[in-house]
Amino acid sequence: MQELFQGFLNFRLENLIMFAIAGALIYLAIVKEYEPMLLLPIGFGAILANIPFSSAIGDEGILTVLYNAGIKNELFPVLIFVAVGAMIDFTPLLQNPFMLFFGAAAQFGIFATMLAAILMGYDLKEAASIGIIGAADGPTSIFVATKFAQHLLGPISVAAYSYMSLVPIIQPPVIKLLTTRKERLIRMDYKQVNIPKFVKILFPIMVTVIAGIVAPISVSLVGLLMFGNLIRECGVLERLSKSAQNELANLVTLLLGVTIGSTMAADKFLRWDTLLIMAMGLVAFIFDTAGGVLFAKFLNLFLKHKVNPMVGAAGISAFPMSARVIQQMARKEDPTNFILMQSISANVAGQLGSIVAGGLLLALVPVLSALIK
C-alpha cells in the first residue's frame, strides 16, 4: 500500500523549491520570451527530474539514456554547431574583417571569471567550465563543461542561456560606465562590398584548417560549425542547409534542453555552488563587454578613423541580440547614427572568437594543470 503513495511520502521541500525554479524558467520562457527554445525544455526537464522516484531519470530512465547518448559524449552540442553554422551568414564579417579583433577582445570575461573562480577554491577544470559561460555561447559552454566538469553542467547551462537572453539588460550600463557621450556619438563609415561566392566557400574550409592546426582539440567545435556553414554557402545543398537550419536545430535543441533540465536534480542543484556559478556568469558577461569596449578605446588611440567603442561590446557571441542592443544605444544618442552592420560584423566575429577560446581552453587546461601534479 505504501508503494502507492511513495511519491507523496517522499516529496520534500527541496523538490518544491526545484519546482519553483523550473516554474521560473518556464515563466521566463513563455511570458518574457527569454530564450524560450532552451529555457522551457530545461524547466520542464527539471520538473521531470525532481518528481520523487521519477521513471524519467535513474539508470534506465529515458532522460538518462538521452544524457548518455547526447551530452556525455558531446553529440548534441556538436550537432547544434552544424545547425548554427548553417544559420550564420559570415558576409558582414568578410566585408569588415577588421571587426574580427573585437571578437577576440570580448572573450576577456571567460578568463577573468576563470581566475575569479580559482580564487574561490574551484580547481582549474571547474574554473575553466565556469569561465566559459563568458563565451556567451550555449553549445560551447555545454561542450567545455561536459569535458571538464559534468557535475556543474546544470547550473552552467542555465547561467549561459539565462544571461544570453539578458544581454539587453546587462550590456548597456557597462557600456555607459566605460564610454563618454562623445565616444558613443562616433560615426563609422560602412563599405558595402560584394563578396564573391568562392570566398564564402573558401572561408569555412580555411578557418577549420587554421583553427584545427593551432588547437586540434577544437576541430569538433570549429569544424562542425564550419561544416554547417559550408553546406549553406556551397549553393548545391539547399535541402541539407534547410534541414540543418530547421529540423536538425529544432530536434536537437528540444532534446538538449530537456536533457540538461534532467541534470537539475535537487541534490545536485540546490547548493551554494549554483548561486556562485550564477553570480560568476554575470561577472563573465560584464567583463566580456568591458573587454570589447576597452579594446576599442585602446585602438582609437592609434586609428585615424575612430571606432565607436560600443561596437567592441558586440564582440560577444550572443547573436544577434548584442548587435541590436548596440544599434539601439547608438540611435538613442543620435537617431541618425547607424552602426548596425559594424556591430553585426563584430557579433559574428564573437561567435568565431568564443569557439576558438573554448578550443584553446580545452587544449591548454589539461596540459598546464598536469604541471601541478
Binding site: 576577456f108 580564487l119 593551432v214 547607424f338
Partner: protein
C-alpha cells in the same frame, strides 16, 4: 589569505589566460589576413557604394 594550492592554481590560470588570449588574437589575426588575402585575389571584389549615410 589564500592557500598554496589556490595560489598555484591561480598562477597556472594566469598562464592559461595569457596563452589563450594570445592564441585567440593570433588565430583571429590569421583569419583576418586570410580574408584580406582572399578578397585581394584578382577580380574578387566589386566595390559598390561606399557610404551608408
Amino acid at each position: 589569505m589564500f592557500s598554496n594550492e589556490i595560489m598555484q592554481n591561480f598562477y597556472i590560470g594566469l598562464q592559461i589566460t595569457l596563452y589563450a588570449m594570445g592564441g585567440v588574437f593570433t588565430v583571429l589575426c590569421l583569419f583576418y589576413l586570410m580574408v584580406k588575402l582572399m578578397v585581394k585575389l584578382p577580380g574578387a571584389i566589386h566595390k559598390k557604394n561606399t557610404d551608408s549615410e
